[in-house]
């Protein structure tokens, strides 16, 4: 139930947040965006979610897409 107290409010519903825990290096996204006091507001996913827009699962916080193919 705990969420970073000052971080992103969407950690529970975000498709990518749990995937950023898959490997050590990926946690840098959580550190630089999700758990960061202010930087989570720069996340492209956060911005779409805040304006109630659908958030593509492959969208990265920096606005790029995960190349899945």
């Amino acid at each position: 139930m705990s969420t970073p107290p000052t971080g992103c409010p969407y950690t529970g519903s975000c498709e990518l947040y749990p995937r950023f825990s898959l490997k050590g290096a990926l946690k840098i996204w959580q550190q630089r965006y999700c758990s960061h006091e202010t930087q989570h507001q720069r996340c492209a996913r956060y911005q779409l979610a805040t304006s109630n827009e659908p958030v593509p699962a492959t969208l990265l916080p920096n606005g790029e897409h995960i190349p899945t193919t």
């Binding site: 969407y10 898959l22 050590g24 290096a25 990926l26 946690k27 109630n52 899945t68």
Partner: protein, 204 residues
């Protein structure tokens, strides 16, 4: 205890409890349209992510991570992670909320409505919104058609507005989101104007 409509002093706090409980349990902002979206329109690309093997996904994420933060920052992160792992066990991962939770929420909406009607002694199956609606809008089968078209328009409108009365009115306004304040003012304002017009129309 209640007859006719439920009093505002009861409904208001109950709404507040629902919104706060929703956040505490699901870590999501409350909004009925959002629940429909979650069920009917899974996130674009979710299937691709699920289809990709964990290794391929990890590799793709790793490449994107290197491109964004650079090799040095990633190596630092890995080293910090390794030393942290030695000191403490890995914390439990937070899983995304399953779609079934939204489905259950939506299924319970009519159940809640039925309980509310039962408590106020108004539980009955009706095919009309009442005498005034029949007189001003339509009656008989035409009234059902009008209601169905109205329902579709509400759905389209709330998707265009990015939320409904619960999403904008409860979750958005309580967070002082400008878009929600404007949306709520628009639909409540329109509702008030239309209700005055209808009132004038049905006056004897």
């Amino acid at each position: 205890m209640f007859s006719g409509h439920w009093p505002w002093w009861f409904g208001g706090p109950v709404f507040a409890i629902v919104v706060v409980a929703f956040w505490l349990i699901e870590r999501r902002l409350f909004g009925v349209v959002g629940q429909y979206v979650q069920v009917l329109e899974p996130a674009q690309g979710a299937a691709e992510l699920d289809k990709a093997s964990p290794q391929a996904l990890e590799e793709a994420l790793r490449r994107a991570t290197l491109a964004e933060f650079g090799a040095e920052a990633v190596a630092e992160m890995e080293a910090a992670e390794a030393s942290e792992k030695e000191r403490a066990p890995e914390p439990r991962r937070r899983e995304p909320v399953p779609r079934a939770a939204s489905l259950l929420f939506l299924a319970m909406l009519p159940v809640g409505g039925a309980i509310g009607a039962l408590v106020t002694g108004q539980l009955a199956l009706r095919g009309t919104l009442g005498a005034v609606h029949e007189r001003v809008v339509a009656s008989g089968p035409m009234e059902l058609v009008v209601l169905a078209v109205g329902g579709v328009l509400v759905g389209v409108g709330t998707r265009m507005a990015g939320g409904c009365t619960s999403g904008h009115g409860l979750s958005g306004c309580s967070r002082l989101q400008p878009s929600s304040l404007i949306a709520t003012a628009s639909f409540f304002g329109t509702g008030i104007v239309v209700s005055f017009l209808l009132h004038a129309l049905v006056k004897p």
